[in-house]
Subunit: 166 residues, 2 copies
């Protein structure tokens, strides 16, 4: 389903049963970034609705034993016909540097192209410098940090990636 994954890992679209599994790994993988407020922020950014209504444009990656290795939650913009949006991506830090994030984004770019999208957008917090470096390597252009982007105190860096024609 996804090209470029390391041996022993497979990808599929998520089901609603994956929602608590993804929330459970978030805290481990994010290493407690921004403490308890960060934990609540991450949980609230992934309500169950994403695992009910946007499953066909999202992925989970698992080991042979079913253990979660990575996920990507994204959707096709409903009001911007040329835009696809990546809402939340996570890769087990023990597996960083093996191209899993790149493979997930690659699969999403293909999906976006198949839906006639020309631009992929996403945001991250300014504290998450690893995420910013990762997106820049993938060809995204970063905005300056925007204060209160997502609400009071919720500063964000916005990323844009134009898709090449297939």
């Amino acid at each position: 389903m996804i090209d470029g994954l390391p041996d022993g890992l497979t990808a599929r679209h998520p089901t609603v049963e994956d929602h608590p599994r993804v929330l459970a790994v978030l805290e481990t993988w994010w290493g407690g970034l921004k403490g308890e407020a960060g934990a609540l922020e991450r949980a609230l950014l992934l309500p169950r609705l994403y695992f009910q209504h946007f499953t066909t444009t999202s992925y989970v990656v698992e080991h042979r034993d079913g253990q979660l290795a990575a996920f990507l939650v994204g959707f096709m913009s409903q009001s911007e016909p040329d835009t696809a949006y990546v809402h939340f991506v996570g890769v087990d830090p023990a597996l960083h540097g093996r191209g899993i994030g790149q493979a997930l984004y690659g699969a999403f770019f293909e999906l976006a192209r198949a839906h006639g999208r020309r631009v992929v957008r996403c945001v991250t917090s300014p504290e998450n410098t690893a995420s910013q470096a990762f997106h820049t390597r993938l060809g995204f252009t970063a905005s300056m940090p925007v204060d209160d982007y997502d609400g009071p105190g919720l500063t964000r860096v916005a990323f844009t990636r134009v898709l090449e024609l297939a």
Copy 2:
């Protein structure tokens, strides 16, 4: 654009400029339900993406002077072709009892039908008894509260409303 609104109020689809305006009224309208944690919860449930990518299935209602009176943020499920989802609705408490919420849901039901949807879903927190009574009056069926529905500690009541054929 919407039938059944009181005189002096008009509805339109939101733009990204409405995002901070909606967040600003949330605290007033929700009366500080669940305190600071509730405030953060509400802000995080409405990231800017809803005012960028789901504007065509969402509404804001304004007074003649532009003051916000109500809003509804919803979308057509991307993975469940028969389902439409109402994510967040607010009405100025000073205007409660005048049918504005009902008018917003009525408009969303019409939109959902026009998109071939047969079911509308939404969730609320068990503390929000006014919301539960409102949805029951509108013909929604409530689930029992589901612990950790949206994540650890985030209990929700889930509502379902079957749409009559047009």
